[in-house]
Every structure is written in structure tokens, then in C-alpha cells.
Amino acid sequence: MTDAPGSDEAPGAGGPAPLAPGVSAALRDAYRSEWARVVATLIRVTGDWDVAEEAAAGAFERAAQAWPRDGVPRTPGAWLTTAARNLALDRLRRRGVERGKVLEWMAMQELEGHGDGPPDPADVVAEPSPEWDDRLRLVFTCAHPALPMESRVALTLRTVGGLETGEIARAFLVPEPTMGQRISRAKRKIRNAAIPYRVPTPDLLPERLDGVLAVLYLIANEGYLASHGDALQRLDLAAEAIRLTRLVVALLPDADEARALLAMMLLQHARSAARVDAAGDLVPLPEQDRSRWDAAEIAEGLALLDGGTAGAGDAPPGPYRLQAEIQAAHAVARSADETDWAAIAARYDALAMLADSPFVALNRAIARGLAFGARHGLDDLALLEASGRLEGYHLLPAAQADLLRRLGEADAAAARYRDAIALAPTAPERRFLERRLAELGPTHPAD
């Protein structure tokens, strides 16, 4: 899914004249950067998500034919938007007598209201602001709370990210028809329930932005630690989450939590090359080769945190800032031993105050174990285990095993590793736990 359909699979790419490399790259770049803008504008103008997507796809098809012949236009986005407008206009005209004609007639009015007729793609110059707003509308509409969360994620990847339905289906390991139904159901609900296509009013903006960030966070999480399958991380999804969050940060530069979320993603992503070994197995943080961390991404992540507006008021840091600061503490440590675990534990304390999450409690216990002694952590983990809230989650026995190992209690550690192995969802995590178990030595047979 790293390859946009605008490149290899672009309609027209297999046509008679092979694309010059420069044009092919321009098409791919345009697809990545302009898909959302074209779709967003067309949705506003036509009010019809399907017409908008078909017209946008058609515009890229036309570009694949025209650009090799005429050269890449100065403003590819404007060229594509205009081409898509013309295609949408044709389509609405052809459907002019079908149902919903009033709405479409209004759309045609707006389409034709641009001067004396639909503009010619060649005449168009960039007009930055309206499309910018359209994209923001698109982001908020795709993440509307009246849509089920799984549909919000899929629709955002499809409509804002421009990913093909099949790519999204493969990323989340569901059959393509299932993902297709999920996306079309979401679009139907947007139309039938009249979910507005707009940026929420200022009173709604904070809570609705939370919803948008939650969608991006989910995409990033699935990329960072896949919930199923054989691969530990899905770098394509992680990269997509970063790209989409960059867009939101660019659109809402004052949203500190959006900046913090982007920082968190970058700081995590910076470690991705060092997180797996040649065999695809997990390399835990203390064993990672820190020279393989991406210095540019770390610098950008740290800068985003410094440049935030959190210090401006007395508002306590939000959940994404706290998580980003935890990642930052890892990123600035020159070695695992130099990690400021007390600072990390303090962030988890604050996170635990914000949300009563068993996952936060788990991480807090580990951080406290490393900051103040393994026994502290084990006590916290025992309480968490007794609560039953992480029943069946492999990282709870894995964390207990690790702290027991640090205390030299090999038998107890081995038992917990076996529990964790039985529960681990991906093969790389299973292999990592098995390696740890083996490292304890041969004197600890299964019960």
C-alpha cells in the first residue's frame, strides 16, 4: 500500500505510451498530495461522495493521458480539481432526470456559477484557501461520532488518505467486500442522516477534534503494533497516520494535542528500523541499536513538543502530549541505562489521572518498576492482575516475567513467560518471548 494507485496501477499507466519517469513521479506525488483536496472540493460542490470519488479518479486518469503529452501543469492540484469538476458536471447532467434532481440541480448551479461555464483545466491557477477548508471538512466528516469507529478509520484512510479499499482491507486483515460494505455503509449514513460536511462550530471543535485524533491514533497504533497477523509493525499504516496527522496539524496549527500526537508518532516511527531484526523479530528497547534511530524524525518530534502552546495557559497536558513526552524521554536517552524512568513514571501517573485505562496502569507499573525497583512494579502488576481487567492480555504476564527476571527469580519468570507466549497475538512477539524464556536457562521445565 506504499504504492499509490496513481503510479503503477494508475489507469492509463498501462496504455500505449509508457510514462516518462518524471511524469510518473509527478503523478504519484500528485496522487499522494492532491487526492484529498480534489475529493473534498467535489464533495462540497456535488454533495455526493460517490460522484466526487469517481470524478477524482477520472481526473487522475485524464492526467495520466494528458501530462505525458502536454507536460506536467504548474499547479497539478488545481488542474486535477478542475478536471474532476468537469467530469462531475457531465455525470450530474447525464443523471439529471433521476431522483434527487433538485439537489443535483443546485450542485450544477454552483458548478456553472464559476464564470461563464466550466473553466478549462489549462486556464486554472492555484486558489489555496477554499480547498484547504474543504479538506478540513472532510477530515471532520469522516471522523463524525455518529459513525462507528471502525468505519471512521476506514473512511478516513479511503477518502482523506486516498487508499484503495483493497489496501485498507489488507491492512486490517478483513475481506475486501467487508471493507467495501463498511465504507459504503458509512457513506450512506452520511447522506441519509445528513451528517454535515463542515468543520464543527467552535463550541463543538474540541470534542470533535478529539474524535479525529482518536482515529489517527488508532491508525498509528495498528501500524506500530499490529493487533494480528505475522508482522510486528505495519510501516505503511504508520506512515499514513503520520501523513494524515501532518495534514491536521497544518490545517489546525494551534491544536496542541494534534502537534503532540504527531510528535508521538514521529518519535515512535523513528525507532521502527531498529525495532525488528533481520528475521523480523522484535528487538526490545534496551537492546536496540540507537544509531539506527531516525535522527531527523526525533528532532522533528522534539521540536513539535517544544513549539507547543501547552505552556501558554495553565491547562494540564493532554493525553497525547503526555505520551509524546514519554517517547521523547526514550528518544533523548543515549543508552537504555540513561533513560529517565522517573520522568516516564510521572507521565504515566498523570495519564492514569486522565483516563482509567488498564493499559496505562500496565505501563505505569513497568515504569515504576524500572524507576523505583522491580518490587514496586510487581506489586502494582499484582493489583492489576487481581482486577481482572487485562485477563487474556499477553503483555501483563510478559511484564511480570521481565521484572521477575530482573530480580533473579528465574522459575517464577519462566512460568509467566509461558503464560505470555500462550497469549501472544503475533508470531514475532511469540518468538521474542520464547527467546527470553530460553535465556533463563535450561533448569526451569514447564510445570
Binding site: H144, P145, A146, P148, K189, N192, P196, P200
Partner: protein
């Protein structure tokens, strides 16, 4: 765009606190804004009557159509610019704070006149000549279809039912609802508005539409319901309206209605069925 708001009580609802019932203010606000078209409270679910037609026989059951823990306690039809406005209106209704509000859009038929309304203009001010019932049309997968009981295609035509009942002056207004997949739930908890996707996809039965009817008594209501094609393919739940003064002190109302909930005002279903002579 018009939406039906259904007020759901029961299930995970919080206890009703009369002191927090500001429904009078809510009604004043939505009427002042021109959002409200028509709304009613429904008599409690023990006063519901469910009508099915199976194998040509009218089956009348005392109670609501489903064993679900939630029941609809009232409804409003509102005119909102989009779902966000409908959510805002729903979130301010007191039931959002102790129960939840389901927002359902209406189906708009392809040949619907632009600007036509589910609720006829001025209906809220029209006084009732008979007993009014909300007739909930319930879709029930697995219900038998026409032909099985020897009915004619005309019997399967909801339009024919609408024409007949409009002609008799029984049907006041009504409309088909969009399926549960297009529904949205709104709750207010601890001052926060919770919006969730509302499709009970797994539920076997759901409200597919409603009509407001005005009849002499329950017997006529059952006769009208039994003629609706969906009585064969699903079920029809009849709920008497419960007129009330929105500006009445909620404490007084709660005390009075507490007593009222234990007695029925309508004739029992068996008696009504005998009267229906079907």
C-alpha cells in the same frame, strides 16, 4: 430535514429525577427556534398492544412488540438543518440525561414533493376528535409475506392502506423511517454529550415507520392495524398517547403518573379484539 426523535427508557437508563426534568424549557426553546414540529408522550409500555396477522388470523398481544429492556416513551418530529443540529436538540432533552434519544431520519420517496412535511402544518394545534394512537410499524424478519395467506397484491401495498385510512379520516400523518443503520443515539452523562452510531444491526425487530391514527377506541385501532400489510410481514404496536402539560411541575406529574401507571384506561385487548369482529 426532518428527524424523528424517540425517547428510550429502560436498559442502562439512570433513575428519573423529577427535579432535573426541564422538558418545559426544552419545548419552549425548540418551538421558539422553529425546530419542533410535533411531539407526544406515550402511555407506558404495559398499555401497548401488539397486532400481528398470521395465516389470516389477527393475533393481539398485550404489551410492546419486543422483550427488549428498552421501550419508547415518547417521540418528537423536528426540522433540523443537519444531524449536528438534531444532536444538539436531542442532547438538551431531559431524557438524554437519564435515558437516551434515538435520532432517525425519514425515508424520502423519490416522488416526494420538495418541501413536503411528515407532520402537516398546524397539526400540533389541532384537537383530537377521537383517541389518538401512535402506530409503530415493526419490521420482523421471518414474518410471512403476502400470497401465503391468499391475500391479493393490493393487500401488500402500504399506499393502498394509506389511501383507505386517509379517506376514513383515521390516519393523521406518518412516514417510513430510515433503517437502524442510519440511526444515531444521543446521551448526556456528567454534562458531556455522548454520540454513538445507533444501528442495532443484531436486533431481530426494529421500528420501520409510524403512523399517528385517530380512532374511536382500541377496537378500531386494532382493526386499522390489522389491515396494514406490515402486520403480516412484521408487527404493529399500538401506543395510546399520554397528553400532558409540559409546564406542569414535574414532581406533581411524577406523583400523579406513578399511580396512573398501574391502571389502564383502554379496554383490555381481548375485549377490543371481540369488538373488532375480524
Amino acid at each position: 430535514m426532518e428527524y424523528a426523535l424517540f425517547y428510550a427508557e429502560g436498559a442502562d437508563a439512570l433513575p428519573y429525577v423529577p427535579e432535573q426534568d426541564n422538558v418545559g424549557e426544552w419545548v419552549d426553546e425548540v418551538e421558539a427556534r422553529g425546530v419542533s414540529e410535533y411531539g407526544e408522550r406515550l402511555r407506558p409500555e404495559q398499555d401497548a398492544t401488539t397486532v400481528r396477522v398470521r395465516g389470516g388470523e389477527v393475533l393481539v398481544v398485550d404489551g410492546p412488540f419486543t422483550e427488549s429492556k428498552e421501550s419508547i416513551g415518547g417521540f418528537d418530529v423536528i426540522e433540523a438543518s443537519d444531524l449536528d443540529e438534531a444532536i444538539e436538540v436531542a442532547s438538551k432533552h431531559p431524557v438524554a440525561s437519564f435515558g437516551r434519544v434515538e435520532i432517525r431520519p425519514f425515508v424520502r420517496w423519490p416522488d416526494a414533493e420538495p418541501g413536503s412535511r411528515v407532520v402537516p402544518a398546524g397539526f400540533a394545534d389541532r384537537s383530537a376528535a377521537g383517541s389518538r394512537y401512535l402506530m409503530l410499524v415493526v419490521a420482523e424478519p421471518g414474518g410471512e409475506r403476502g400470497a401465503v395467506d391468499g391475500s391479493t397484491p393490493e393487500d401488500d401495498d402500504p399506499e393502498a392502506w394509506v389511501r383507505e385510512m386517509d379517506g376514513r379520516g383515521v390516519r393523521q400523518f406518518g412516514e417510513v423511517l430510515r433503517p437502524p443503520a442510519d440511526a444515531t443515539f444521543v446521551q448526556r452523562r456528567h454534562g458531556e454529550v455522548l454520540v454513538t452510531d445507533g444501528g442495532f444491526a443484531e436486533a431481530k425487530e426494529w421500528v420501520a415507520g409510524f403512523d399517528l391514527i385517530e380512532v374511536r377506541d382500541l377496537a378500531e385501532a386494532i382493526e386499522v392495524a390489522a389491515k396494514h400489510p406490515m402486520a403480516r410481514g412484521g408487527a404493529i404496536e399500538l401506543r395510546p398517547l399520554w397528553p400532558f402539560d409540559v409546564h406542569e411541575d414535574p414532581l406533581v406529574r411524577e406523583a400523579r403518573e406513578g399511580a396512573d401507571r398501574f391502571r389502564r384506561l383502554e379496554p383490555p385487548a381481548a375485549e377490543a379484539l371481540a369488538g373488532a369482529a375480524l
